[in-house]
């Protein structure tokens, strides 16, 4: 499976008569893009804003951040299941806009109605200042402020706002067709020097069985009770995995994060140099019984053994329940003779001195920290300054508790509990600026 990822640089975005890429300036016909979003009957209204890198701007109620990508050849479409069919992706050529992002901002009709979907707490993306933790602060951004039809169901709301962003991202990447790429990177896993260590990547993915949307989709299909399966990294680069659009929650990743997964890209780029990358093993974590957890762990380890892995990297996200599965997988692999590096954030509780992991096994001897999810407790909350411009709702509720007050989005904020409303503050795949210091 060979994928060419072609970059088309964008340094500026402006509105104009025709949607096209002129040099490195992306011109957008506002009415055309509005029409594309409103072609979905579940969406009542949309407004489109442009936000430049480095602006003193806060974007609120952010649901997804998406890199514009489109398939030129090779079959299928980027973000399959939402844009295009469920045909196999990961082959041929994919064009991407480098330096432009589509951001989806949408209110929460179900919360307003008292439906209690607390996952949809209001979130913020700051483009500059100490809260600028996402790729949006280094990018030119098209923000869709969407109002869903008040009559649509919970699942319709989720899929409508997610599809809208993905469709627009796909359309904007379509401006690159017939143009010459600035750079092309090739991704494939050809046979390499057999003496290189063979390494597999375990993608631990949580699911919430009791939610109508369990949290993660593969080719648009919601994943529930599913045992481990093998995935080619190119499928991920073409957006085969996507989260429910609730980024900011520790339960979710943006489309951008999925398609630029730091562990996957890094292991692809090192294939043939210092490792032999065997690909990705998807593992559903957060089974609700010990039996489910043990079965998924041993089956994942079995797949890795069958691939002749010498070593494995494991990542995960969500909460303590899911981490039990991760530790059991670590144990199952080590018992098969596969060396494991487990990447995890820490939960060091009130003082920063508590034991940071809820569960460990003696075989977990190589663990990389991706930051402390409760670091505010020892270092104080993250203080965000007031901003000049707000895109999205101007009154927001960062505390998801019922009845919590709304606040002006222009003002100063202190982000505390689990850093949840601040998109990018929890960085479980080690992509960006969050790190841990030992002292």
């Amino acid at each position: 499976m060979r994928l060419e990822l072609a970059d088309y640089k964008v340094t500026r975005i402006e509105f104009g008569a025709q949607t096209r890429l002129n040099g490195t300036t992306l011109i957008i016909n506002k009415e055309e893009i509005k029409g594309l979003v409103l072609s979905d009957a579940r969406i009542a209204d949309v407004d489109i804003h442009l936000v430049e890198r480095g602006e003193n701007t806060r974007i609120t109620q952010v649901r997804d951040i998406i890199e514009p990508r489109t398939k030129v050849n090779g079959g299928g479409q980027v973000y399959p299941g939402f844009v295009g069919s469920r045909e196999l992706v990961g082959q041929g050529t994919t064009n991407r806009l480098a330096g432009a992002l589509v951001i989806v901002s949408a209110g929460v009709p179900h919360d307003e109605a008292g439906g209690g979907h607390r996952q949809f707490s209001d979130t913020i993306v700051d483009i500059s200042g100490p809260g600028a933790l996402t790729a949006a602060s280094d990018s030119e951004n098209v923000v869709l402020v969407i109002k869903a039809d008040s009559n649509c169901s919970y699942m319709d709301y989720v899929t409508a706002i997610q599809s809208a962003g993905l469709k627009v991202a796909n359309r904007l990447a379509g401006t690159t067709l017939e143009l010459t790429a600035d750079n092309v990177e090739c991704f494939e896993l050809p046979p390499v020097d057999p003496s290189l260590p063979k390494v597999v990547y375990f993608l631990g993915v949580h699911t919430t069985a009791h939610d109508p949307h369990p949290g993660t989709t593969f080719y648009g299909l919601p994943l529930r009770e599913v045992l481990p399966f093998w995935v080619h990294p190119n499928e991920m680069i073409d957006g085969a995995f996507l989260s429910k659009p609730i980024i900011g929650s520790q339960a979710s990743h943006s489309a951008y994060e999925w398609a630029t997964h730091p562990v996957v890209l890094s292991m692809c780029r090192r294939h043939g140099k210092d490792i032999n990358f065997l690909g990705v093993i998807f593992q559903r974590i957060r089974y609700e019984t010990m039996e489910g957890k043990i079965l998924a762990a041993t089956q994942a380890a079995k797949l890795a053994k069958q691939l002749n892995a010498d070593g494995a990297v494991i990542t995960w996200y969500f909460s303590g329940n899911a981490f039990v599965d991760v530790m059991l997988t670590t144990q199952a692999c080590e018992r098969q003779g596969i060396k494991v590096v487990t990447m995890t954030p820490e939960y060091s509780n009130l003082t920063g001195k508590e034991y940071p992991l809820v569960f460990t096994v003696p075989e977990a001897v190589s663990v990389v920290s991706t930051g402390n999810c409760q670091r505010f407790q020892s270092e104080g909350p993250i203080k965000l300054p007031a901003v000049d411009k707000v895109v999205g709702a101007e009154e927001i509720k960062l505390d998801p508790s019922p009845g919590a007050p709304k606040m002006s989005a222009y003002g100063e904020f202190e982000i505390s509990y689990l850093l949840r409303p601040l998109v990018g503050a929890i960085d479980k795949w080690g992509a960006r600026k969050v790190t841990t210091r030992e002292y």
């Binding site: 009791h210 609700e288 019984t289 010990m290 957890k293 329940n321 039990v324 809820v358 569960f359 460990t360 096994v361 003696p362």
Partner: protein
């Protein structure tokens, strides 16, 4: 909490779906529950069967409380009483 209550001399039976996690944190009498969202019952079963499961698990917990133990034990309705290792 189980450890702190036992520290003042009151035995504790901890009902949990994740027996390994309970043992990891030092619980001594661990009663195997059904699943994390419903440790004491089977909501998908009929009301009569749900009641049977609930009663069995509570009976196990009462049995655990009356059992002298020298090392941590799991009390399960399928495999009986056993010692589990991490």
């Amino acid at each position: 909490m189980a450890k702190e209550i036992e520290r003042v001399g009151i035995p504790v039976a901890l009902i949990t779906a994740l027996e390994l996690l309970a043992l990891h944190h030092g619980a001594n009498r661990v009663v195997k529950g059904v699943a994390i969202p419903h440790p004491c019952g089977e909501p998908e079963a009929s009301a009569e069967d749900d009641l049977k499961v609930r009663r069995t698990i509570i009976d196990l917990a009462l049995e655990a409380l009356q059992t002298e133990i020298v090392e941590p034990k799991v009390f399960a309705r399928d495999f009986g009483v056993y010692t589990a290792k991490l």
